[in-house]
Amino acid sequence: MPLLDDLAIPPDEREMTRRRFLSAVGVGALTVAGVGTAVVGVHYMRPNVLFEPESRFRAGHLSALPAGGLLAFPERKVYVVRSADGVYALSMTCTHLGCMTRHEADRGRIFCPCHGSQFDLRGVVIGGPAPRPLPRLLVTLKDGVLEVDTRKVVDPDFVLKVT
């Protein structure tokens, strides 16, 4: 009398055996755990609260800024400039590698001490390695007081018309 095992059909290549099923479940579970750990890890490393200055700040009364004048706010990394057309704000951060530029009043330019980039007072590059002009930031006027939002970059020809 033949044994039961001898009668069994040998498993097909595509057939799901218990071993194959369990190893697929195991690999799947490890993959889910691994991806989950990575996602939670990156989330953990992203701080939810930042102790940084707020992006919006008051840049003083408009009357304190005569035409042709420039106010520097190093704490906020912003220049507020008043040209003949109106008022605009420039980022103080060099577009080359992020150093803080400084206004050289005697030469009428903005200069970066790290690698020697130069900008004119419109923010246009006039020398050095900087690849882009200094970005202009949103300026608004509220009750005669200028407000700058350092997180809102506007067109490079943006000017707030003032009278």
Binding site: M45, R46, G98
Partner: protein
């Protein structure tokens, strides 16, 4: 004298630690190497011309020695350094001017760091010009590149810790380079800094990377690197190099 020595090496305590006799036979000389945890990474035998100074200039072991020196001096510095925003700079100044031998340890750490970068680079140049990266050693070259990257990252993260103007602007420039990575750049920068600008978060991140994550990764890769040197047949000798002359091996003669 002989009796004292016999009593010292014949007792149970000594024999429980040292499992071999005096190095008077080849068997014992071999046992000394491979029954010792610290020496077992070495081959039991090496050809003189393979270990000649001019073959490798000992650049690999010198790099590892620099790393060891950096670990020891770094641990000493950690006893006085606090990675917090007002304290970091003051602690660095204290180490420099107040702590006994602090200036020596800090400078040793600094110069060993410079030396390690130079030694790792020279080691790489040596391996390249010797052709020692060729099969079967290609994967060990890749591990070596990983070790070079870790060395540079250790230098980079250590750069911020004095928390002076140089540190601040160097890391500003460095993280803005990461910002230039396509698509992921701004996210990478944000994660590195732990914010939008360099601050408390950045300092502690770089501190943990510098003192824990990167050294552990380096020790791991270094172990694999050493293990592979043995598995790939020890130091590379060019196949076309003539064997050493009969009147004793002089070694180091490049063909």
């Amino acid at each position: 004298m002989g009796r004292v020595l016999a009593a010292l090496t014949g007792n149970r305590v000594w024999r429980s630690i040292v499992r071999h006799g005096a190095p008077d036979s080849n068997r014992n000389r071999a046992l000394i190497i491979f029954s010792n945890f610290f020496l077992h990474t070495h081959p039991v035998k090496a050809r003189l011309r393979a270990i000649a100074f001019t073959r490798t200039f000992y650049l690999g072991i010198l790099s590892a020695s620099a790393f060891f020196l950096l670990t020891v001096t770094g641990i000493f510095l950690m006893f006085y350094y606090r990675p917090a925003v007002p304290e970091a700079y003051e602690d660095m100044k204290d180490l420099e001017f107040v702590v006994s031998a602090g200036m020596f340890l800090r400078n040793l750490h600094r110069w060993a760091a410079h030396a390690m970068v130079a030694l790792v680079f020279l080691h790489m140049v040596r391996v390249f010009f010797a052709g020692a990266y060729r099969p079967p050693r290609e994967f060990n070259w890749v591990i070596g590149v990983g070790l070079l990257v870790l060395t540079l990252l250790l230098s980079f993260t250590g750069y911020l810790l004095p928390w002076d103007q140089l540190a601040y602007w160097a890391i500003t420039v460095g993280t803005n380079m990461a910002n230039a990575v396509p698509v992921l750049g701004p996210d990478i920068r944000f994660l590195m800094l732990g914010g939008n600008t360099i601050g408390e978060n950045t300092l502690i991140r770089f501190y943990v990377l510098h003192c824990m994550v990167l050294p552990l990764a380096l020790i791991l890769l270094l172990s694999v690197h050493m293990w592979r040197v043995r598995k790939d047949g020890g130091l590379y000798i060019p196949p076309d190099e003539p064997p050493a002359s009969k009147d004793g091996e002089t070694g180091g003669k490049a063909s």
